[in-house]
Amino acid sequence: MKRHTHVALIATLMSATAWGQEVSLYGTTMAQMWKSEDPGFNKAAYRPATQYLGIDATKLGSDNLSLHLFGWGKTDLSDSSNFDGTKTAGYLNYGYLQYQFSKANAELKAGRFTVNQGTGFEQVDGVSGRTDLLNGFTLSAFAGKPVLFKAGDLAHLSGGAAQHNYETQRDVIFGSRLGWRPSSTGEIGISYLQDGSKTAKDMKIAQPVDYTRRQAALDLTFVPTSFFDFRGRTIYDVSNERVNVAEHDWTATLKVGSQILVSGNFAQREFLYYYAGTNLPSLFRQNDNDRFDAWGGSVTWNAPLSIQLVADYRHTHRETYGEVNKAGGELRWANAEKTMMVGASGHVANAAKTLLVDSAAPFRSLSYGEARAWAMVTKGKFTASLDGILQKYRASNPYLNGLKNLYEVVGSLGYEVTKNVKVSGDLSHATTAVSKNETRGLLRAEYRFGMASKGGR
């Protein structure tokens, strides 16, 4: 979307809030500070100021009509922290009018919104709708123009031709999902998503990269009893004459008594089809003809005294790199009022069965370990938190500049000025592979004004 269209859309939507009988405005202002003295680079000092802003205006002339806006803007008060060297950036995450009907959970949206139904998780400038039908069926659909991003893979070399090709191919996006909920035993859905109407071979001059996507999906939730559920989805690539599986992702969960949850997951992705439509084909390479398989599970124990213990394991297999086993655990505790919370976790990835992962460093291992501990305390109007993470690598890793252990510690202090205004400051210290010592500061002001008192945050 062009910048002036952005401005016109935001101005129109913002002015619509004047009609709202309940308007909530919320935002976060953040100022960050850090210095960089990376070997091989110039010294730089960064002071980006970032503003997040959201507006929810309900009852716009009608109890059923509402407006929702959220976006951010950033400016660098010192050296540029953007990769393209610019000092400003901004983005409209969403901005849409919503009409919610009093029956059938029906709703209509128009503007910029996120769609997550069945196969896609997409940002769209367009319209969408959904409704419940008779006998437990549901129907949803959307159509519009996809929100486009830089297709930077070839843009630097082709003078923007790749970006033009990407935007021309992705001229439209639409999709639909039909679901069915037989009583309370679950839900089954079928969905279709098409992104772009001009494939690479349909262009006047055939292009090397296809940015379009046509996918169908089957999703299922099956809850035959209160102690077992099975859910997941399979996505099919239907862009060719032959239908191919892009992804299987299925999870089963068993409740053992009132305190223990046991879950198992299986996932499989065919990169040739799963990566269809990426705008970064140099990284997400379809032509690798690679496949990823994973299975694993976790056991969660909601122990007495508000303690939660989780143990998890995951086995992954990638055709080109081999097998990795990852296992670990996590502990969490919170008091009844949630004014004191602590957590600790540890995970180990064992990559003993991998193939050659790096021809430039034949002995490089993908094995690593990670440990983390954190605590949060709220005392009256004051809040405090401390969060530390340690990542331990094999000495043969050539990208660590001789280091083996990397860590980061973040401390935060906050003060609730009023019920709707909170200020906080963070200080972090870290050892990274690039900067052996890195200290960062962050100041944050969060605020919420408005009349809407019910609902979520």
């Binding site: 959201g54 996120t114 679901g179 990169f271 705008n279 970064l280 945050r457």
Partner: protein
């Protein structure tokens, strides 16, 4: 030719479906759009009202939506099928904390005062991504395959 025919059939079925759907719309009243009671300041304690005691009436039992560590990791399934249920407690901006499409900083930095939240990419993830990306690049694809990949492009051209 076969594809064009299939698309025409799909369009016809969709059109007929939309026409039929008008007479098939459920007459049931919609659920509450947002949480019916005002949530107090600070983090709400859901189990204060949503106990496992079914004698409390229509309140959904806490166990049915207990956000365990596993639930947070796998919430995509629930959100894909019925995000209206999520919306009764979470505003859209809550989702945007991580699923913003384009973000000025990683979620772990933005939420650095909330270590209890499952923000991805903690610590020196620039180093770790050289390992995680080789193990399972499809996990990167979910967020960075089509959006929020300006920084990826700096090296992966």
């Amino acid at each position: 030719m076969a594809r064009k025919t299939a698309l025409k059939v799909f369009a016809a079925v969709l059109g007929l479906g939309v026409l039929m759907a008008c007479s098939l719309v459920s007459p049931e009243a919609s659920f509450a759009r947002t949480h019916p009671q005002e949530l107090g300041a600070g983090r709400p304690v859901c189990s204060e009202c949503h106990t496992t005691d079914v004698s409390k009436g229509a309140l959904k039992p806490y166990a049915a939506f207990d956000h365990t560590v596993g639930f947070v990791k796998d919430h995509r399934f629930q959100a894909n099928q019925d995000n209206n249920t999520c919306a009764s407690c979470h505003a859209q901006s809550f989702c945007s904390d991580c699923h913003g499409g384009k973000a000025p900083m990683k979620p772990a930095t933005r939420l650095s005062d909330r270590p209890d939240r499952a923000a991805p990419h903690r610590g020196d993830y620039m180093t770790l991504h050289r390992i995680e990306g080789k193990m399972d690049p499809s996990s990167c694809f979910k967020c960075h395959g089509r959006a929020n990949n300006d920084k990826c492009q700096a090296c992966h051209r």
